[in-house]
Symmetry: C2
Subunit: 391 residues, 2 copies
């Protein structure tokens, strides 16, 4: 399916002639607008009449075949190398792009917020008008997924579940040594070993491995700590996996918290409370509700139980110290926000729901699923069971 | 070892009070300057007196422990959420950063070329002076590696050699069916299957898999085609692997071209010519020579043999249609350029040497090693043999 770019045309209106992106294919806006992926930066110009690419000679043949552009130009069409001989690279590039946009009758450009300043200022020196849009126009279009995109994300989440199962199975198969350390096949079972199992499983399912979190004990109390070293019985182990399908480039995301052995009363209490917050958040997901409503549902549960939250204290370092979730698609983190000031939810938004509690003296607990907002509520794209204790 | 940032202090001189980066840890300049890695954007301010970080509450504890910053501030120290409630995100961020840099006595900032335009213009609206530097000052510092960094790259290249061996072994173990298709364990041997073998091997060696090229026949004639589908006997198979060590974040890079069976006379001729060009390039690598000198050495060999090059014809679509190489480090492609207009080589530069020839009617041939420039020449960090035919 071709994305519907009419909101972008509407945004441009009379104020702007076109929308310009200068980035490589790892930039999701670039990938989405151009329909093309290349490892070095290239330029995409959107106008309501059509999309035009400017690429190196090296990418020319492939861009003509693979991109959704109406026309593809080469840097060499604008004598780029002669410009490089006489100018800093960024100025040579700006002079080339200025000629390219002029060829398409464009004088005033809107660009994404993260458009490179060097190119922007050099283009301004060439007389091109450029303004960074703060309306998130392209990311707002991207936030609403069509059926194909939802299926890509579901596929990535399926691979994710296979890798979570592999991780859980490894913890289940481990023995508990006298000092509480988990051991597997005569070796300490480490965070690194479990991550390797996860990553190899993802690979076998066509997903690229990004960073993975397997964090035990005090490590788990820091939501962004990836974890390292041996895993221990009776402590919480947070496993958070966010794989990217190598073919489609869409992401999955899921978190489970496991205890091998006997959880402390506090961890058990936190887990049950987090599961309650998790369901409260899910119950709040429907079109017309905001990301903030969903976040508030979680904060309400935690605060009612006497736990600290960032909503209550924005410098809190323990308790519920992150957002409830985030949109997900070509980027792991994208619109809508599922947090304070989160936007209105719309059918086709795909979001994570991931409440958690953290304290270095206790450990960490987090539960995360991934859901798509539907016309009358949501559909959960995650089937993995939510259970704390691994027997 | 701590990097030597004195060239950055010199660059700032009297014109700028500080150097600012706003990016996540996947931005190599950010990672290098801050000594910190986080998945969401954060802000690093360098001044000749010290480096200062501005991070979310979530990253605060880890940033204090892990970064090389003299001080770490939180967004909440500047009442960020109150600003978000009243402004677009990018404006709220700029107002926060403006207060942060003012706290450090900074009014005039240099930033990297790829600094996000939205934040830059919003900071300008707050009265902060910002200029994108076109001197590549930070990337020039990063281009010169210390002994630790060379070792990190060497380690990544060692992992790379293990994965290349795994790929070559798979091709060696394959049978040739009547139609020329390679078969392994009763299945067609595909590009995808070989990539999986490469990627699993890299994973076992602590490297993240990026994209990998295993391209056969006409696919191999397009230098950026990743390849897909069955591999065939008697055709060239280009395997180009660029893994990143997950711990150190430094990259390796290597390419070999294989033929299972009998290469055509043309492929054999191209391979021998490319090996000659490869050695000519290596012979040109020494301090004081430029990246352009090295590139010229390759073009001279190819052009003398009657092959087309981008140097001779900048819109060439067959022949030698890319650069001779590139610097490598935290980025797969970084300074110095090893191409037309390439910079002077200095001891500590780590560069690839990768001549190749391409034509859809013939296929492709490329040979690539990775070397470090030394005081009196270079040291090759690659030990993998250069041989075309896989028996």
């Amino acid at each position: 399916m071709e994305p519907d770019f009419s909101p972008l045309a509407e945004f441009l209106g009379d104020e702007f002639d076109g929308y310009l992106i200068s980035a490589d294919g790892s930039d999701s806006n670039q990938l989405y607008l151009s329909g093309f992926d290349a490892p070095d930066p290239y330029t995409t110009l959107y106008t309501p009449e059509g999309t035009h690419l400017l690429v190196s000679t090296l990418e020319y043949g492939r861009a003509k075949k693979e991109s959704r552009a109406a026309t593809v130009s080469r840097l060499s069409d604008y004598d780029y190398m002669a410009k490089v001989a006489e100018n800093p690279h960024v100025v040579a590039k700006a002079k080339t792009v200025a000629e390219f946009v002029a060829d398409h009758g464009v004088e005033t450009l809107a660009v994404p917020e993260d458009f490179p300043l060097g190119v922007a200022d050099a283009l301004r020196d060439e007389g091109v008008s450029i303004e960074a849009e703060t309306d998130d126009v392209l990311t707002t279009i991207r936030a609403v997924k069509d059926d194909d995109e939802v299926e890509y994300i579901h596929d990535a989440q399926d691979a994710n579940e296979a890798s979570m199962q592999a991780a859980e199975d490894l913890i289940r198969a481990a023995d508990i040594a006298d000092d509480g350390m988990l051991r597997y096949e005569g070796e300490p079972l480490t965070s690194e070993r479990v991550k390797e199992e996860i990553e190899v499983t993802l690979l076998r399912h066509g997903c690229a491995l990004d960073e993975t979190i397997v964090a035990c004990g005090a490590d788990a109390a820091d939501p962004h700590n990836r974890g390292s070293g041996p895993l221990y019985a009776n402590e919480s182990i947070i496993i958070d996996i966010f794989p990217r399908d190598k073919e489609t480039k869409y992401n999955g995301d899921m978190t489970r918290t496991f205890v091998k052995g006997e959880p402390s009363a506090k961890i058990r209490e936190w887990f049950d409370l987090t599961e309650e917050a998790f369901h409260a958040a899910l119950d709040a997901v429907e079109p017309g509700a905001t990301g903030e409503d969903v976040h508030d549902a979680v904060c309400d549960v935690y605060e009612a139980a006497g736990e600290n939250t960032l909503r209550a204290d924005q410098s809190a370092e323990t308790g519920f110290i992150h957002s409830t979730g985030h949109g997900i698609g070509l980027d792991v983190h994208e619109l809508p926000h599922v947090s304070q000031h989160g936007e209105e939810l719309k059918p086709g938004h795909v979001i994570t729901i991931e409440p958690g509690l953290y304290d270095p003296d206790v450990g960490g607990v987090r539960i995360e699923d991934l859901v798509v907002v539907t016309e009358d509520g949501y559909e959960n794209l995650t089937e993995y069971p939510v259970e704390l204790v691994v027997e």
